[in-house]
Amino acid sequence: MTDEEKQKAIFNAFEPNVPATRYFYADCKEARGDSNLVKKIIKRLRNAENTNLHYLFTGHLGCGKSSELLHLAKIIKEKTTFFPIYIDFEKYLDVQDTTLEDIFLGMISEVVRQYKDKFEFNFKIENYTLFKQVIGFFGDFSVKGEIGLPFDIAKLNIEKLRQNPNLRQQIREAINKDARKSLLGELNLIIFEIEKNLKQDTEFTKLIIIADSLEKIKRFEKDRILKESEKDRMLKEGENAEDETASQKYLFLDKEEQLAGIVTNVIYTVPLFLYRSYGKQLTEAYGKNVFVLPMVKIHKRGKFDEPFEIGRKELIEIINLRLKNKETLINDVFEPDALEYLLKYSGGHIRSLIRFVQEALLEVDELPINFASARKSVREEVRSFAASVRENYWEKLAKLELSANQQIENGDEDYSKMLESLAILEYVNGDDEERDDNVWYAVNPSIRLTIKFQEALKKLTPSE
């Protein structure tokens, strides 16, 4: 490989827009605090073989949730008697307009499809009148013999709905026409049938549905929310973000009974801001089954300049995995100070780190990436924060920076929004067990480099 080819190959291995495949997956468990989520969830599953549990899974945008859940599915399949069904709901839902039925529909089709991929199964679609009717809207499916599954994932995905905006409406009308039948009922029926088959024919005993991307829903049952009161109508006309919170709250708290009505194990992803605003209610509803995937801790609590060695190594591991087979070593790619700078300013947020590397690779004519180029790629992030952070947030960011325990006010909506936009990052401590407030927060390192933040900080610090 020439140098440029090498540079190009490395560049293409750093993709901020896809979750890590198993070649690139690193578990980072220690650096994410003691919360070895996979282990915890597996343990919980093993102890609950005869019950149906509903879990919530949350974490920052781009912190590795999907990578972690894909990994979890793999481990569950290898090490337990549960058969995992991983569903990326982004493929099914119009996140601006989602109903519970859309979610159930996605579950039915994926449960059947993924089970059939692996095992023989006679799916008697005529027993599922509603589902059959819905599938009919997607047209052109052919029934192959008796057991042909008359659809594939592509036919139910959002692309089709995008081309025909009336389709979703038609489907909803069809579903709502006959109140005696429900998609939840049909979902439970298919789960029942499949679990019966699992026990008879396979080494597995139960299903676990991993419902990813539900945290991306922006509007849930919008018409319903609308009708309820004038206030809600105002809500719809007002800021989208508020709408989103209201929608997410409605789905996971008000509709909790129906979500819990699925008679098998399910892991739902919820947005971190919802959990931080309504943590108490969520815990009441879902018990202790709420799991948070924190950032990879890259520095110690409140000590930005003291690297947390374990986390640092995890991030280096992530980079190394992506450098494999590129005829190169990490030291040939980065000058040491450049690497440290990128690690430090990623704040342990993996997607940012990956982007930083890509940007830095564009900067240099030849490897290694030098300090100036590393700094330049962070600068782009600083710039977008400087322009997009709302004016009234700067003071709050400074307050967090100065707070003794690196804590934020619970339930403060501004902080929730900042968590969502990654202006604030959440970490979990595994190393100082004497403290109860294991969760702590830090201002995104890139924000520390903005003038506005530094001015806000100065204002709050008494001058000498």
Partner: protein, 467 residues
């Protein structure tokens, strides 16, 4: 805690050459779909950079798509045009038309769709996608489509040449109302494009470099042009923006202008109550600040509203008041329009001779000051009075003249009106078929511009024409 010095001040240190090299490298390196943002406030500069990039990347298949109108679904548009198949890079320009720069952005359809389709882009496109945008639009996307923005692989920042935008705004809006009004349609559309480009550039400016007065003038100008070509919704959008900024900075003069503009647009859309409210507010402000011109405009507009509500006596009253002021301040154009309106009111009251007198006076003025639209209106109105008094052949003659002018200057509403009236004259002469053809033509125009007159013409067709 030690904090490194801020690097914000470095944002202003652009290095176009270096950014360009990065951009070229990004195209060369990306072997699959990656998303990039290119921040460049001026469209001509974007064009130049893209031309350079194509030269530099000879042999690389780059597809450039430039939107000239708002869209709601970028992925859908790309799919429709099968863009991306067989390309090695896609450059998209013109998305700023779809991303308004006012405070509300959360409800923007394009931004919503970007946010929900971030995974779908990856599936559809196997090559890198570069979105060329002014900075304000990128900030909007950062704020309202964080999911989409977070999967980017990079942003390139290009410098803004020394601030000529504000200067350019003042230059390009200095042309008079009358001149703009009489421009041929193609010229009007061209002017709209120039002005919208300027607006996008202006909004890419740093806060401290902005000039709100310039922005207001630009918005009013744009609103006016959209009003001329009967795109009322667009006109309302811009009038509302200029109203908001005017009241924010306390410029009552432009506030009044915006209110009058909003009134007229709503009047054209048939929302009389709303129109009247805006005119009343404008009149109040005009009184307050002693703006005689504004006062006359508001009075005249109220007169027109009463006319539409068939209260002809009241209409005459208002128009006479307005006429006194416009003569006093010597605004010939408004004087002509007041005379026209008076003529219309007297026509409706059955006082044809009086009506003809007023219309002829206004026609003379319009020709004197070369007000093409005014000329067309006077001719049309003369046609109406002739028809009212049974002189159909004469009426047809007037309407034909007026129709030609409306078409020439792209006055769609005027065109529809002349066509309907022409039809009416033929109908009275017993030429039903001809009348119906003209009405149908008029109807399609009224429907296109959402004019309430559509209902009237539809009724005529329903009652008199074979389907």
């Amino acid at each position: 805690m030690q904090i490194e010095p801020a690097i914000s001040e470095e944002f202003e240190q652009y290095d176009d050459e270096k950014e360009f090299r990065r951009l070229i490298r990004a195209v060369k390196f990306s072997q699959k779909h990656f998303l990039y943002f290119v921040c460049c406030n001026q469209v001509p500069k974007q064009d130049a950079l893209i031309a350079d990039a194509k030269k530099k990347l000879k042999g690389v298949k780059i597809r450039v798509i430039k939107f000239k109108k708002p869209i709601t679904d970028l992925l859908g548009e790309l799919q429709k045009k099968t863009i991306g198949k067989g390309c090695e890079a896609v450059f998209v320009q013109g998305l700023e038309y779809s991303i308004s720069s006012d405070a509300q952005g959360a409800e923007n359809a394009l931004i919503h769709n970007l946010n929900i389709s971030r995974d779908s882009f990856k599936k559809y496109l196997s090559c890198p996608l570069f979105l060329w945008l002014p900075e304000y639009a990128i900030v909007k996307i950062t704020r309202h489509a964080p999911d989409f923005f977070s999967v980017r692989s990079g942003t390139f920042y290009f410098s803004n040449p020394p601030e000529r935008v504000v200067e350019q705004i003042f230059q390009s809006v200095s042309s008079s109302y009358l001149e703009s009004l009489s421009l041929p349609l193609a010229e009007k559309l061209k002017q709209i494009e120039t002005l919208e480009n300027l607006l996008a550039e202006y909004r890419g400016l740093h806060r401290e470099k902005r000039d709100k007065q310039a922005e207001i003038r630009l918005l009013l100008e744009l609103a006016g042009f959209f009003d001329f070509i009967s795109e009322y919704r667009k006109a309302i959008e811009y009038y509302e923006q200029s109203l908001a900024i005017s009241s924010e900075i306390g410029n009552q003069f432009s506030e009044g202008k915006s209110l009058n503009g909003l009134g007229s647009t709503y009047l054209n859309l048939g929302e009389y109550r709303k129109a009247m409210e805006y005119y009343d507010q404008a009149l109040k402000i005009a009184h307050e600040i002693g703006a005689r011109q504004g006062e006359s405009t508001s009075l005249g507009n109220l007169g027109i509203t009463y006319f539409r509500l068939k209260n002809y006596r009241k209409a005459v009253e208002y128009h006479e008041q307005a006429l006194v002021i416009s003569r006093e301040i010597g605004n010939r154009q408004v004087e002509g329009s007041n005379l026209n309106s008076l003529g219309n009111a007297y026509d409706s009251l059955g006082e044809y001779q009086k009506a003809i007198g007023y219309h002829e006076q206004s026609l003379t003025i319009a020709r004197e000051i070369e007000n093409r639209q005014g000329e067309g209106e006077s001719l049309n109105n003369l046609g109406i009075v002739c028809a009212s008094s049974g002189e159909y052949q004469k009426a047809i003659d007037y309407h034909e003249q007026s129709l030609a002018i409306s078409r020439e200057i792209g006055n769609r509403s005027g065109e529809g009106i002349s066509l309907s009236n022409l039809g009416l004259a033929y109908y009275r002469l017993g030429e039903r078929e001809k009348a119906c053809g003209l009405w149908k033509e008029a109807l399609s125009i009224f429907e296109a511009i959402e004019s309430p007159t559509a209902n009237v013409v539809r009724q005529w067709i329903k009652e008199n024409c074979k389907s």
